[in-house]
């Protein structure tokens, strides 16, 4: 019996991105290969300048590579963007301040011609999902940072994308709110089954949320190694609960990621260090 192999959500091959010319050029990404399976949660982590946000923007087709290819669900990144195959959330929530919460969440639906009744229903669903149903008529300036990010996530999910791209969405929040948002995100991803590419600079966040953590290093930006969190003993990202943060596997994975970040990879079953 042939097993149907679903194509990967993201497939990055030999990607290189150079900014500037001549002596002042910056190699943001050098020879990067990455693959994210359908439904998988993958984090990109690394210090400033390692190219993680650049890589995310290349996948989103908000930027073009100098060399290499990027495919989303088997299509070129540009086609995937035009076909609206992904949802995106930025570090600044990027809500439009003159629109209400509901107005912001329905924005992609409105832009793509979904009719009014369907839109209203979907918006109500999404606000329920992120727990902001009572704030539909408020404006962003009346919400706290955490709430704004939840709206941004609801908006990213509006068209039920099979892929979510998230660029440090919790970066501007304090630790307590962050952990709460992480719990919410795990729940939402389990419910929707979407694949996620998540950029962060927090090790515990990356480990808690992901199936795999991709560690990057700067100058030039490249992938140092990958930690498979599942192999460290945690459940798959879709089955994770809040208590994962107290489990042994969590700490093992955090240590693994840290060792890769510091350039001293410890050879464990979970770590696939690509550099000597």
């Amino acid at each position: 019996m042939n097993q149907v192999v679903t194509e990967p959500a993201i497939s990055v091959t030999g990607v290189r991105r150079v900014f500037g010319k001549g002596r002042k050029q910056v190699v943001a990404l050098d020879d990067v290969d990455l693959s994210v399976a359908d439904g998988e949660f993958v984090s990109l982590i690394g210090p400033s300048g390692c190219g993680k946000s650049t890589l995310l923007r290349l996948v989103a087709d908000l930027d073009s590579p100098t060399a290499g290819t990027l495919e989303v669900f088997g299509k070129p990144a540009r086609r995937a963007r035009l076909d609206q195959d992904y949802g995106i959330a930025f570090q600044q929530a990027g809500l439009l301040p003159w629109r209400t919460v509901a107005g912001n969440v329905e924005l992609p639906l409105k832009l793509h011609g979904v009719e009014s009744a369907t839109r209203k229903g979907r918006v109500a669903e999404l606000l329920e999902l992120v727990g902001l149903a009572d704030f539909a008529k408020n404006h962003p300036d009346q919400l706290s940072g955490g709430m704004q990010q939840r709206v941004a996530i609801a908006r990213a999910l509006a068209e039920s994308p099979r892929l979510l791209l998230m660029d440090e969405p919790f970066g501007a929040l304090d630790e307590i709110t962050r952990e709460r948002m992480q719990n919410e995100l795990v729940r939402i991803c389990a419910e929707t089954g979407a694949a996620v590419l998540f950029v962060t600079h927090s090790i515990p966040e990356a480990v808690f949320l992901s199936d795999r953590v991709v560690v990057m290093s700067p100058r030039p930006g490249r992938i140092t190694g990958v930690v498979d969190v599942r192999a460290d003993g945690l459940a798959g990202a879709h089955d994770r609960t809040e208590r994962a943060r107290d489990q042994e596997g969590f700490f093992r994975a955090v240590a693994d990621v840290r060792s890769l970040l510091h350039g001293t990879p410890v050879p464990t079953v979970a770590v696939d260090g690509l550099e000597k």
């Binding site: 989103a60 609206q84 990027g94 301040p97 003159w98 962003p140 919400l143 955490g146």
Partner: protein, 271 residues
């Protein structure tokens, strides 16, 4: 850094261009105004100043009450010219800035033309406009008001268009939004507060320009005509009465624009 979610959303109130409004904020200028008028009256009285230099406030007020209808009808003419000029000028300024903001070459081509328009004295333009459009119609006056509005609106709108945040531009790109959608969804709302800043400046300019254009001819009616004719017949208190009408008209335009600005900026983040 943001703290834990509050239970209820924060209340935001519409923001005034003034830092905060207290009794002193309102009383102080009123006090200054009252002192000024009293001082003026006393000065004219004691220094026995002739009316052709400076009429007393009381004399001016007498003329205002005596000629109220005439002042109002004059204000209506000048005001309507200023209003039409403002509408036309705003439309021209906003559309022009939208095009210039989208196509850089248009911006660079328009730059010297706009700069020249910004420095033309209305006094110089009025005579040629009257010969071009004829002295029997209000067109010349409306155009003058229009130009004085279009320039600040254009410049401020252009600035506003350039303030679109990168994250919003990225969002529109991620949604594969068409150019017209981008303008309607993001560019115009971002630029709106700047448009209003331009309008606020332009509102009283429109009135002054329409007024000055009336000195040079054109159809009868309008405060400017009344000012010049009463000054010519040496009835200076009356002339000043019309001037008062002009000031009130200018103030009216300014306040209405200010109120519109406040209403439209209800939910804008602080600049």
């Amino acid at each position: 850094m943001v703290t834990v979610d509050p239970v209820a959303p924060r209340e935001t109130r519409p923001r005034l261009p003034v830092a905060d409004v207290r009794w002193s904020t309102v009383l102080a200028p009123v006090a200054v105004g009252v002192l000024f008028v009293l001082g003026w009256e006393a000065l004219v009285d004691r220094a026995d100043i002739k009316p052709f230099i400076l009429p007393a406030p009381s004399a001016i007020w007498d003329q205002v009450t005596a000629n109220r209808d005439s002042i109002v009808s004059g204000a209506r003419v000048t005001g309507s010219n200023a209003l039409w000029g403002m509408l036309g000028g705003t439309l021209l300024g906003v559309v022009g800035a939208a095009v210039a903001g989208t196509f850089r070459f248009v911006d660079q081509m328009a730059a010297p033309v706009v700069a020249a328009l910004a420095v033309i004295p209305i006094v110089a333009l009025a005579p040629v406009l009257y010969s071009m459009f004829g002295a029997a119609v209000n067109s010349g006056r409306i155009i003058v008001a229009g130009i004085s509005v279009a320039v600040p609106v254009y410049l401020n709108t252009l600035r506003g268009i350039r303030q679109v945040r990168a994250v919003h531009r990225d969002l529109m790109a991620a949604y594969a939004a068409k150019p017209l959608q981008v303008i309607r969804t993001v560019t115009l709302p971002t630029a709106t507060p700047y448009v209003f800043t331009g309008l606020r400046i332009a509102s009283s300019l429109a009135v002054i320009s329409a007024l000055i254009a009336e000195y040079f001819g054109g159809p009868i009616g309008g405060l400017g005509k009344s000012i010049t004719s009463s000054a010519a017949s040496s009835n200076y208190p009356l002339a000043w009465a019309y001037v008062t009408g002009a000031i009130v008209l200018g103030l009216l335009f300014y306040v209405v624009t200010l109120l519109a600005e406040l209403w439209f900026s209800r939910h804008q983040p602080a600049p």
